[in-house]
C-alpha cells in the first residue's frame, strides 16, 4: 500500500557544513537594523556575521546580491489539513508551500480529523514533522473536539512544547468556556488564539453589505465578529488573560482592539492578506475562491485595517492558509467550503499592498511576519545573531511575478490571486540545517 505522503517530496536539501552568504543586506527587525554584511553558517549555526567573510574552504556560497536577508518568516495561522484531509494538503506539500512563501516556521490549526485535542495526536504530528525544514508548531484545540465545552489537558500539552491553543474555525460561543480557557492558560502565560464569530447570527456565505444585497446572498455582518471581540475583551480584562484575535476583518474589531491595547490589556491581533487587499465586490464573480470566513469586507474595513497595521493595533500578518480540493470548491457558492490558500502569496501581497503603497516600511512589514508572531508565542526573537541556529529568508522586494494557481506548491489551487501580478520574491530559506532554493 502506498502512503499518500510518499507521493510527495520535500523541496529542501541538507545544508552543507560550511556556508557563506555574501553580498546581501541584512534586515533585522529585532535590532531594528539594516546593514550590508556576510553571514557564515557552520553546521547549521550562524558562526559569524561580518562585513567581509572569506569564501575559501566553503562548501556553499550563496550570493545575495541585491537581496535582503531577514529572520525566517513565521506564519502563525495555517491549516495543513493533516491528519484527515490530505487530499487538500499534507505536511509535505504544505511545508513546500510555506518554504516557497519564505516561511521557516508555522503554527498550524487543530481543525483536523481527528482533532488535535490530546497529547497523542499532538505528539504524532510533532514526530512526523520534526525532520522538515519548516518548524511546525501544532496548536491544539482549546476545547475537546473544538466543541466549546470541556477544556483540553492544557498542562500536559504545554509541558510537551505547546505554545498556544485555538478552536479556530469556530468561535467559542460560551462565555463561561472562554473565561475558563483564558484563566487556565494564563497560569502558564500561554495565549488563547481566538476565531471570533457569534454563530447566533444568521449563517451567511459572504459579508453583509451592499454586495450581498445585490447578489441576494445571506450575509455575515461585521458585528458577528466585533460583538464577540467586545465580549472577549471584557473577559480578558476580568481574568487578566492573554488573548490573540485571529484574522480580524471588520473595522469595528480594529477599533475595539486599539482601545483594549491602550488600556494595557494583554491582547494582540492578526490580519490576513486577503482582508487588507480585496473587497467583497470580488464575490460578484461568483468564484468560490473568494469564499472564506471571515468574509471579504468593504473598502471602509480595509481602511481601518491599514490604520491598525500602521499604529500597531494589528501585530501580525498571517495567511489563514486553507486549502480545499477543486472537487469541494467547484460547486454552487452556497455549498462550497470556506477558505483560501495564502501562505505562498502572503509576502508578495504584503509588498504590493502595504510596502509599495507606503502603508508600512519594509522593516515594519517584516516585524509582522517575523518577530511579532514569535513574541506572541513566546519564541526567541533574536535570530540573526552569532551562535543562533541559522533560520533565515533571502528575498528581494522588487521582482514582479504573476500568480499561476497551477504552479503553486500547495496541493490545492484555491488562491484568490490567480493571474494577479505581485511584487517581491523569496529566493531562499534556511532552517534546521536545511536549505530551500527557488
Amino acid at each position: 500500500m502506498i502512503n499518500n505522503i510518499l507521493l510527495n517530496k520535500s523541496n529542501f536539501e541538507e545544508l552543507p557544513e560550511n556556508c557563506v552568504i555574501i553580498n546581501g543586506t541584512i534586515i533585522d527587525p529585532y535590532k531594528g537594523k539594516e546593514y550590508s554584511s556576510d553571514i557564515k553558517i557552520v553546521n547549521g549555526i550562524i558562526s559569524e556575521i561580518k562585513e567581509s567573510i572569506p569564501t575559501t574552504e566553503t562548501d556553499l556560497i550563496i550570493d545575495a546580491k541585491d537581496k535582503f536577508i531577514s529572520p525566517g518568516f513565521m506564519d502563525m495561522h495555517v491549516h495543513l489539513r493533516e491528519p484527515g484531509y490530505e487530499q487538500a494538503e499534507n505536511f509535505i506539500t504544505g511545508t513546500n508551500a510555506a518554504m516557497s512563501g519564505g516561511f521557516t516556521r508555522i503554527a498550524t490549526m487543530p481543525n483536523t480529523s481527528p482533532c488535535v485535542d490530546n497529547i497523542f495526536v499532538y505528539n504524532d504530528i510533532c514526530r512526523r514533522t520534526e525532520d522538515l525544514l519548516v518548524k511546525v508548531h501544532q496548536i491544539p484545540a482549546v476545547t475537546s473536539e473544538r466543541k466549546g465545552k470541556t477544556l483540553v489537558e492544557m498542562t500536559e500539552l504545554i509541558n510537551n512544547g505547546v505554545l498556544a491553543f485555538s478552536d479556530d474555525g469556530d468561535g467559542i460561543q460560551s462565555g463561561e468556556a472562554m473565561k475558563g480557557a483564558l484563566q487556565y492558560a494564563s497560569m502558564f502565560k500561554v495565549p488563547i488564539l481566538v476565531h471570533e464569530e457569534d454563530k447566533s447570527f444568521l449563517d451567511g456565505v459572504m459579508n453583509e453589505s451592499l454586495s450581498s444585497t445585490e447578489l441576494g446572498m445571506a450575509g455575515i455582518p461585521n458585528i458577528a465578529e466585533s460583538s464577540m471581540i467586545a465580549r472577549d475583551i471584557e473577559i480578558a480584562r476580568y481574568v487578566d488573560g492573554i488573548t490573540h484575535f485571529q484574522h480580524i476583518s471588520a473595522k469595528e474589531s480594529v477599533k475595539l482592539i486599539r482601545a483594549a491595547k491602550l488600556e494595557g490589556l494583554k491582547v494582540t491581533s492578526e490580519v490576513t492578506p486577503h482582508h487588507f487587499s480585496l473587497t467583497d465586490e470580488k464575490v460578484k464573480t461568483f468564484s468560490t475562491d473568494f469564499k472564506m470566513n471571515p468574509p471579504l469586507r468593504t473598502k471602509e474595513d480595509i481602511d481601518e485595517i491599514l490604520l491598525g497595521l500602521k499604529d500597531g493595533t494589528i501585530d501580525v500578518i498571517a495567511s489563514d492558509h486553507a486549502p480545499h480540493t477543486p472537487e469541494k470548491k467547484n460547486v454552487e457558492f452556497d455549498f462550497a467550503p470556506f477558505g483560501v490558500l495564502g501562505i505562498e502569496t502572503l509576502f508578495s501581497v504584503g509588498i504590493k499592498y502595504l510596502v509599495k503603497t507606503n502603508v508600512l516600511s519594509l522593516m515594519d512589514f517584516l516585524k509582522k511576519i517575523t518577530i511579532n508572531p514569535r513574541k506572541i508565542l513566546n519564541l526567541d526573537q533574536d535570530i540573526l545573531s552569532e551562535g543562533k541556529t541559522a533560520e533565515l529568508t533571502i528575498f528581494d522586494n522588487k521582482s514582479e511575478w504573476k500568480v499561476d494557481r497551477r504552479k503553486l506548491q500547495s496541493k490545492s489551487i484555491n488562491t484568490c490571486y490567480h493571474d494577479e501580478k505581485l511584487n517581491g520574491l523569496v529566493h531562499c530559506v534556511i532552517n534546521n540545517s536545511k536549505i530551500y532554493r527557488r
Partner: protein, 317 residues
C-alpha cells in the same frame, strides 16, 4: 406570425439577470411580448417558432407557477419540452450541478431554463454548457423573467414610467423578485421605493438609488404602482417580525388603506398570494389589481424571451 418575425436581435445571448441589461433589449422583449400576447388571444394559440428546438426546464427548487408558465410558453412555441426536477440538497449529496447539466446537454438540447436556490448557479451553467441559459430565479439574487412580466404589465397601463413611483412592499431581503424589478424599473426611469419592516430590507440597499420607508400609509399615498411581495410564512416569525397578525396590521394591503391612494394605483403580486397576510381578498380581487394580467403576460413575455434568445442557438461561444 409575420409581425413577430423581426430582424432585431437582443444584445444579450443568455438571460441571467436584469442587472447589466440595456433598455433597448427590454424594449425589444416587451414589443415582442405584446405580439405574442395577441396570438394568445386567438383560437389557435400555437406558433411554430421553436419547432425542433429542445428546451429543458431544470428546477432545483419548487416553483409551480414559474415552471408552469415556462412550460406553457415553450409549448405554445412548439418546442420540445423536457422537465427535470430535483431539490438542490439532494443534488448536493451526489452528482454535482455541472455533471447533471452536462449529462442533460449530452442528450442534445438547445436551451436550459433553470431555477436554483444559490445565487450565481447559472454562471456555472454558462461556464460549462453550450446551451442558451435562462434564469428562472437564483436564490434571492435575480428573477429576470418575473421583472419583465411585471414591467410589461405596468407599462401596458402606464406607458411612460419616467418619474412614476413604484413601491415594492414586504419581504425584500428574501425576494428574488425585488432586485430584478429594481434594475428593470430604473432602466425605465421610475422612482423605486421599498416598504416593509426594517428587518426585511437588506443592508445598504438605498445605495442603489432606491427610497426606503417603513410606513405603508405614506407609501400608499405617494405610489403609482405597488408590487406586493409574498411573505414566506415558514421563514420569518422570530427575530424578523413578531407575528403575521402584526405584519398584516401594519404592512398588509387592505381596501381601507388603499382609500388614500391615487385613483389609478396599480396593485401587482407575483404570487402565490397569502391572502389575509400581505394582501386582503378585497384588494386581491379588487379594481386596482392586475394580478391575473401578470399571469397572462408571464406566458407572453416568456415566449418572447425564448423566441428572441433562440436566434443564438448554435451560433454562440
Amino acid at each position: 406570425m409575420d409581425n413577430i418575425k423581426t430582424k432585431d436581435l437582443l444584445k444579450i445571448k443568455h438571460l441571467l439577470g436584469i442587472n447589466g441589461m440595456c433598455r433597448e433589449d427590454l424594449e425589444l422583449i416587451l414589443k415582442t411580448s405584446a405580439s405574442f400576447k395577441q396570438i394568445l388571444d386567438t383560437p389557435n394559440k400555437k406558433v411554430a417558432a421553436l419547432k425542433g428546438i429542445t428546451v429543458v426546464n431544470m428546477f432545483f427548487e419548487n416553483s409551480t407557477r414559474t415552471k408552469l408558465s415556462f412550460e406553457m410558453a415553450e409549448k405554445r412555441l412548439s418546442a420540445d419540452v423536457v422537465n427535470f426536477a430535483a431539490s438542490s440538497s439532494s443534488l448536493k449529496k451526489g452528482e454535482t450541478l455541472i455533471d447533471t447539466a452536462r449529462n442533460i446537454e449530452a442528450m442534445k438540447i438547445d436551451m436550459v431554463v433553470m431555477r436554483h436556490s444559490t445565487p450565481g448557479a447559472h454562471k456555472m451553467l454558462l461556464d460549462n454548457l453550450d446551451s442558451i441559459i435562462i434564469n428562472a430565479g437564483d436564490g434571492a439574487h435575480e428573477h429576470p423573467t418575473q421583472a419583465i412580466l411585471d414591467l410589461m404589465t405596468i407599462t401596458e397601463k402606464i406607458p411612460d414610467l419616467k418619474g412614476k413611483r413604484v413601491t415594492l412592499v414586504g419581504d425584500i431581503v428574501h425576494s428574488r423578485v425585488a432586485m430584478s424589478n429594481i434594475h428593470a424599473l430604473k432602466l425605465y426611469g421610475a422612482k423605486v421605493q421599498l416598504c416593509g419592516p426594517a428587518t426585511l430590507i437588506p443592508k445598504d440597499i438605498e445605495k442603489l438609488g432606491v427610497e426606503v420607508t417603513y410606513d405603508l400609509e405614506e407609501a400608499i399615498q405617494n405610489s403609482d404602482v405597488m408590487n406586493i411581495l409574498r411573505i414566506q410564512l415558514e421563514r420569518h416569525v422570530g427575530p424578523s417580525f413578531p407575528s403575521l397578525r402584526e405584519y398584516h396590521n401594519f404592512w398588509g394591503i387592505t381596501n381601507e388603506k388603499l382609500a388614500k391612494a391615487n385613483n389609478d394605483i396599480l396593485i401587482l403580486h407575483p404570487g402565490p398570494m397569502n391572502r389575509g397576510v400581505e394582501i386582503d381578498d378585497d384588494v386581491a380581487d379588487g379594481d386596482h389589481q392586475v394580478i391575473l394580467e401578470q399571469v397572462l403576460n408571464g406566458v407572453a413575455s416568456r415566449m418572447a424571451i425564448l423566441y428572441l434568445l433562440s436566434a443564438n442557438i448554435g451560433g454562440i461561444k
